[in-house]
């Protein structure tokens, strides 16, 4: 996979630094050639074509671009794509299987955890990491874990309920 860039400069092509990286997205092995200044969010959206990862503020505030890097939530607009070399990336597209939604997705549906849906992929990825670490979280745990993700629609109430719903389902209680 090779990225295609807008060309605004006039230096010789041979002077442009490019690195070859190897990583996985949602379990699939990938190779890419990237300029070091390419952001991870752009590698995911434009390079891999996985547009479920949203870019909101582009300034490390909103958390819409949250993906998992080796299982830990990271704001993908604030990590260089070259830094993904040798690492495992998970995006919202990796949650569902061909036939089944992930419990988090079911939870957001059951508890009306989204309105416009823009923040939802980031919310789900942050929540996935929480549930992996803490399968039986309190409401406070959920609010704490999602405090780096902004939602401008829901007032968060139903997002918190959705995550708690998913936690119960994943524990086999729902």
């Amino acid at each position: 996979m090779t990225m295609v860039y807008e060309d605004h400069d006039d230096e010789p092509a041979s002077d442009i630094p490019v690195r070859r990286i190897r990583f996985t997205i949602n379990g699939a092995k990938k190779i890419a050639e990237v300029e070091p200044r390419l952001l991870l969010s752009h590698l995911i959206r434009r390079g891999a074509g996985l547009t479920g990862t949203h870019m909101g503020c582009d300034t490390t505030n909103c958390g819409a671009c949250t993906v998992l890097v080796d299982g830990a939530p990271v704001k993908s607009c604030t990590m260089l794509a070259v830094q993904a070399d040798g690492h495992a990336i998970e995006t919202v597209e990796g949650l569902a299987t061909a036939s089944e939604l992930h419990p988090l997705q079911e939870g957001f549906k059951a508890e009306h955890g989204l309105q416009c849906g823009f923040c939802t992929p980031g919310m789900m990825m942050a929540a996935k990491a929480l549930l992996a670490r803490k399968p039986d979280p309190t409401e406070e745990d959920v609010r704490w874990a999602l405090s780096g993700n902004l939602c401008r629609c829901t007032g968060y109430q139903n997002i918190v309920k959705s995550v708690l719903w998913a936690a119960a389902k994943m524990r086999g209680e729902a």
Partner: protein
């Protein structure tokens, strides 16, 4: 937003990293957590020609206590490591209080304490915490290692004392003289915002209840991190009584240099400095009574 074009190296040893920095001169920059540097590069406030990513350098992710109680925090120790630390709550109440309120939980997965000190943002929380604890930064360069006290390390807003070919490899917190108490209180409009006001207090008390050593430092109420040295001096050698606490709070307020802005008026911020200083010191006094 894209950063401007740069060369990228990800060395596997400190020696290699220092060599790259040496060759890169003023145009080179170290990348650790990247939670301040990458946004600055995207906004083109920083445009390094060479980025030396130290994330592949092994053995820098630690935080550990020496047998004498000195705490060492490696350059790749993330905020989240300190937030979930089993070591800090008992021996480092101020650091344990600060770790969960740095930035937001996602940023804490990447950002580092040492990087935060290097970034030297006047609104950064860790600089106040480490300043109150009398900590230092260990820098490694071609000529070897040197320790720099944090009060001398942060030269000004976004300016540190490192030479272009030095890497800050660890932060060091000296062992307590007696029992350490204290805390960090931060007023923020929402999680992830910069501090409207942050107050870091550390007191070390002997068996008689008198304060052996104290440090008070302020975030967000001046052009740089402020050490309230007069306030710390006023409680040193004294028991933590209502009178000494009130006096220390007065002197801490006097050290603050807040400006009115969208986060609040200068008077409001001064008042919050007073409230937070009193609250942490009263908590420390209570901790002392329970221990006695």
């Amino acid at each position: 937003m894209y950063p401007s074009r740069f060369r990228y190296e990800a060395p596997h040893s400190l020696t290699e990293a220092i060599g790259l920095l040496h060759d890169g001169g003023d145009g080179a920059k170290v990348l650790a957590g990247g939670q301040s540097l990458v946004p600055l590069m995207k906004l083109r406030f920083a445009s390094p020609e060479l980025v030396v990513d130290i994330n592949n350098v092994p053995g820098l992710g630690y935080h550990r206590a020496d047998p004498d109680g000195t705490l060492r925090i490696g350059a790749l120790c993330r905020h989240v490591d300190l937030e979930r630390s089993e070591l800090l709550p008992a021996s480092q109440p101020l650091m344990a209080a600060a770790a969960p309120v740095i930035a937001d939980p996602i940023v804490r997965n990447r950002g580092t304490l040492v990087g935060s000190l290097c970034h030297a943002d006047p609104q950064g929380d860790w600089a106040s915490v480490v300043l109150a604890l009398g900590g230092s930064v260990v820098a490694q360069g071609p000529a070897g290692r040197r320790a720099i006290a944090v009060k001398d390390f942060v030269l000004g807003p976004f300016e540190n004392a490192l030479a272009p070919d030095e890497i800050a490899i660890e932060a060091v917190i000296p062992a307590a003289v007696g029992t350490r108490a204290g805390g960090y209180l931060k007023l923020e409009r929402r999680v992830g915002d910069f501090a409207t006001v942050g107050v870091a207090v550390s007191v070390e008390t002997g068996p008689d209840g008198a304060v052996n050593r104290a440090g008070i430092a302020l975030t967000g109420v001046g052009g740089s991190t402020i050490a309230a040295t007069e306030a710390a001096r006023a409680i040193t050698g004294q028991p933590l009584s209502a009178d000494t606490i009130a006096r220390a709070a007065d002197l801490t307020v006097a050290a603050a240099r807040p400006r009115s802005d969208h986060r609040g008026s200068a008077d409001y911020k001064r008042n919050m400095v007073r409230v937070f200083t009193q609250r942490i010191l009263a908590g420390a006094a209570g901790h002392q009574e329970r221990a006695a």
